[in-house]
Amino acid sequence: MTAQVITVTSGKGGVGKTTAVANLATALAMDGRKVVCIDGDIGLRNLDVIMGLENRIVYDIVDVIEGRCKLKQAMIRDKHYPDMYLIPAAQTRDKNAVSPSDMIRICNDLRPDTDFVIIDSPAGIERGFRNSIAAADRVLVVTNPEVSAVRDADRVVGILEAEEKGTPSLILNRLNPTLVRNNDMLSAEDVLDLLGIHLIGVVPEDESVIIGSNRGAPVVTDPKSRAGQAFRNIAKRIQGNEVPFMELEQQNILWTAFQRLTGRK
């Protein structure tokens, strides 16, 4: 095994990075992969509550870096998937407690017996973001179909290219198909055209995501959830499988064709 290190970032806060990390990691674990999640948001940790592991934290990533514990001791095993682990962020320290070389070292220690290391980057383009992308083999940029989120995503894509991290893939989160159909929300095609990067998945807006966060149980485990299905599809694509895009986009294409036919557009 040699793990692939994937960093999830966004520029703007609140677009669903942490939710995406928890769901993708869980979906990969459901497919039998060994996954380690790292919360890169030192001082504002949240991946632990989204994954429902907040009561199990003893050591965090800064304890590993400063030699107070072994890497294995800071890896919290998931309640349901024994091959999924979380390395939590420190809550009472700041981002300067971690350096890019610390992240590279930790990821290299994890690589030999892990399939995927998924890093939850903090919002912004400062130290915490730089730490989070340092070890990445691949970067996923999460955005919402909204002007401020797309603008910030574009900045992040530009920085990743300047840092020679390659062109990231896009997760378009919280798309509302009804608003798109009424031309009151940017469509997946619009966002792709603006950002000029490859799309790895579109996640529809879905109430079950909030319900999942409330319970600390990522929504991918709910077979009926549309957002859960979208995250399961992205996890398959990460593993190199070709999965067709969900119906929500096909509906839009048909609707657009219908509008053109009837002269409504």
Binding site: V157, G158, D190, L194
Partner: protein, 84 residues
């Protein structure tokens, strides 16, 4: 015809506004800087060839993730040169 009376839907405004903002974000060039670049370009070119300063168009265009600076500079009095 219908389009003339139709109020533009918000997704269209969002896309158009973003197209402009992203071009300037990516090049780190403000509209004011672009204007002064245009003035300097006109001055420099005018030293060598006669142009119509009023007709000069300069703008940034997007092609996927790359940007280009496009200038359209009509020359003045070309026919006279040709005749001479």
């Amino acid at each position: 015809m219908f389009n003339f009376f139709r109020k533009k839907r918000s997704a269209e405004s969002a896309k158009e506004r973003l197209q402009l903002v992203l071009v300037h974000d990516r090049t780190d060039l403000t509209p004011a800087q672009l204007e002064s670049l245009k003035d300097e370009l006109i001055t420099a070119i005018s030293r060598y060839i006669e142009i119509d300063p009023e007709a000069v168009q300069i703008g940034l265009e997007r092609d996927g993730r790359s940007q280009r600076l496009v200038a359209d500079i009509p020359l003045r009095g070309v026919s006279r040169h040709r005749a001479g």
